[in-house]
């Protein structure tokens, strides 16, 4: 597996995008692109060509799962590595996401000092399941 350098981060919360930006670019030294919605991510993913997508689950209009479904339809992204962010309490959701091929799930609130390391650990471990075509 190639090195993890480019991450596409999708979250509708601007403050969280700012903190994640600091955590991933400044602390983690990743190349980062951030989108405020699923549709924005779908439109821009091919141009940015990320190694991994980091998706907030609970977003208006199109949630993280739906966004990933659409991304997987784009040629070359059918098995794009994906990591979700969810609130701690949605335990059932965490399992569901892993079952459907997510590489990992990071619980909110995340620690910006360790976020980059957490994502690198998920990358090193690889996928837990073969991705299913649909969420």
């Amino acid at each position: 597996m190639s090195n993890l350098t480019r991450i596409l981060h999708v979250d509708d919360d601007e403050d969280i995008r700012t903190i994640a930006n600091l955590a991933l670019e400044m602390v983690g030294n990743f190349e980062l692109m951030q989108c405020a919605s699923g549709s924005e991510a779908i439109a821009q993913i091919a141009e940015f060509a990320p190694d991994l997508v980091l998706l907030d689950y609970m977003m208006p209009v199109m949630n993280g799962g739906e966004t990933l479904n659409e991304i997987r339809k784009i040629p070359g992204y059918a098995d794009v590595p994906s990591v979700f962010m969810t609130a701690r309490l949605q335990e059932e959701l965490v399992q569901e996401l892993l079952d459907k091929g997510a590489w990992g799930v990071i619980r909110k609130p995340f620690d910006p000092m360790t976020l980059a390391d957490d994502i690198r650990a998920i990358w090193a471990k690889g996928p837990t399941k073969v991705p299913e075509p649909q969420f």
Partner: protein, 553 residues
């Protein structure tokens, strides 16, 4: 019986007319012959042979008629004898099943069968010779009693229902038929009443009425053919059935979502005797329903199912609203907290530039309080989920020894801050049990953080782990101020953080133990405490063993 009697009468009438005709003809023939004998000596003359032949034929006819008459008489008496027996037998059968009394024209009881005495609670001497009026409440004004009297006086049979009273004054409902018996002159000589006790039926009718009008749908049907036997009004209305032709429907027709094979599989545990009842949720248009089914054995030995369909739309919607609330609150509260905490941690780390010591001290206060707020939000949402039955346990086989070691490791940082020592004490090397490790970690962390919080400086929190034949027991022991006995129950109720014996106030919502109790109960376990003021507290968890121990060879 009537038809027989009429036939019998007709037969004897015809027989009589025939006999009379034959006798008259024979008499005429004999007289004519006698006149001819006496008037001449040429009786053997040729011209009289035909007359003689007629006489002979008449004599034969007379003989045959007499023989037939005897036969019919014999038949008549036989029929009469048999009818008498049958009437007697019928009366016996009637008395075995019904309540029978005979009264004289004044309503005095002259005979009563055993059923009467048993049902009404009278002794024979008590009722024979006394008026039947005593079994009718307020007989003088009782409309039924008066109606019966009028009927009998007019020579009519009375048939109907009445409420009557037993010797002890309690009432019963009877269905009765009272037949007047007259003598040859048409005088009433006695009345025979035949009653059946309908009290139980009346009760059953009352229950059926309740069933009919229940707001839940009730279906009773054959467990093999699934063919309907009973459906209450609501069921007929909801299924859109014609109640007069229930036999045309099966339970599968009750809901468009039903599938026969799936329903039979669903009810198989009932037939196999593995379960008392099964239930399944269904959707019908815009409404939701729950079908609960149980076995119902009918009196004739048929195995039936009884299904109750309850409209759960309101409940399902309320559950959905709770779920929406939990996820909304979780999202709306956590998102800003995530940003605050993230910002503070970034600042504190020095990544964005170094702060002087005073500023760092203030930042760490902010971080600590954000953590506090976060755990309050978690507790409230956990409690809400537990109350709504929304918290599902993701159980998996877990080695409790390893599990406890990791829990100790996890709480070490907090113990260090409070200068408290942690230790695990067990003889077990491993112990496999099905638990939700995340939820049980939450329970253990709660017990341990409480124990650490209340421990004196340089104190020790001891975790003991042991087993008995049937259960595992985990203890968290501290030598803190202890908890007064009066607070033992209150402590698990939530929002009721009790005052410690030393009077010092500690942070927290008090929800932690209520949540812990619910989680332990969801593992079929028990949580409790032993404490002595001034000496310390032991919280314990007992979990019933799920895996049989396999002895290694």
């Amino acid at each position: 019986m009537d038809a027989n009697q009429n036939g019998f009468k007709l037969l004897s009438l015809c027989q009589n007319y025939f006999l009379q005709a034959v006798l008259a003809a024979s008499l005429f023939a004999v007289i004519t012959a006698a006149i001819q004998w006496t008037s001449m000596g040429h009786i053997f003359a040729e011209q009289h042979y035909s007359t003689l032949a007629i006489y002979a034929l008449m004599a034969v006819a007379l003989a045959v008629s007499l023989f037939r008459h005897n036969q019919i008489q014999h038949l008549k008496s036989d029929i009469a004898r048999r009818s008498g027996n049958e009437i007697e037998l019928s009366h016996d059968a009637l008395c075995a099943n019904s309540i029978v009394t005979h009264t004289d024209p004044n309503g005095i009881v002259i005979w009563a069968n055993d059923n009467f005495l048993e049902t009404y609670g009278f002794k024979r001497d008590e009722i024979i010779g006394s008026s039947i009026a005593r079994i009718y409440p307020n007989s003088v004004k009782n409309p039924t009693y008066q109606e019966i009297r009028d009927c009998l006086t007019n020579g009519q049979i009375w048939f109907g229902h009445s409420e009557e009273i037993r010797a002890d004054g309690s009432s019963l409902f009877v269905e009765g038929k009272i037949i007047p018996i007259h003598d040859e002159d048409g005088q009433l000589i006695r009345a025979v009443s035949i009653r059946t006790d309908q009290s139980r039926l009346e009760h059953v009718r009352g229950i059926k009425d309740v069933f009919d009008h229940l707001q839940d749908e009730i279906y009773i049907y054959d467990s093999e053919s699934l063919q309907m036997v009973y459906a209450n009004l609501k069921a007929n209305e909801c299924a859109g059935w014609d109640s007069d032709n229930l036999g045309n429907y099966t339970i599968i027709d009750a809901n468009e979502q039903m599938n026969e094979a799936a329903f039979r599989a669903h009810t198989a545990p009932l037939v196999a005797g593995q379960k008392d009842s099964v239930s399944i949720n269904v959707k019908r248009g815009a409404t939701f329903g729950e079908i609960s089914t149980r076995l119902h054995h009918s009196k004739n030995g048929r195995v039936m199912f009884m299904s109750i369909i309850r409209d759960t739309t309101a409940r399902v919607k309320a559950e959905q609203a709770r779920k929406d609330f939990v996820s909304t609150v979780s999202h709306e509260l956590r998102s800003p907290l995530t940003s605050i905490k993230g910002s503070l941690l970034l600042l504190e780390s020095g990544t964005l530039g170094e702060f002087e010591a005073k500023a760092k001290a203030v930042l760490s206060i902010a971080v600590r309080n954000v953590d506090q707020l976060m755990s309050v939000v978690d507790d409230i949402l956990d409690m809400h989920k537990l109350q709504a039955g929304m918290m599902e346990m993701a159980k998996e086989p877990t080695d409790l020894v390893k599990f406890l070691n990791s829990v100790l490791e996890m709480n070490k940082g907090y113990a260090d801050i409070h200068n408290v020592n942690l230790s695990l004490n067990t003889d077990l090397i491993s112990a496999s049990q099905n638990i939700d490790p995340a939820r049980m970690t939450q329970v253990m962390s709660n017990l341990m953080s409480n124990a650490i919080k209340y421990s004196p400086d340089k104190g020790t929190v001891q975790v003991n782990f042991g087993e008995s034949d049937k259960r595992y027991r985990i203890e968290v022991v501290d030598n803190g101020p202890g908890i007064p006995k009066a607070a033992f129950e209150k402590i698990f109720r939530g929002f009721e953080q009790i005052e410690a014996a030393d009077g010092k106030e500690r942070k927290g919502t008090g929800l932690g133990l209520a949540i812990a109790k619910s989680i332990v109960q969801a593992h079929n376990g028990k949580i409790g405490l032993e404490s002595e003021v001034g000496k310390g507290t032991t919280f314990y968890i007992e979990l019933p063993k799920e895996f049989r121990q396999i002895d290694e060879a």
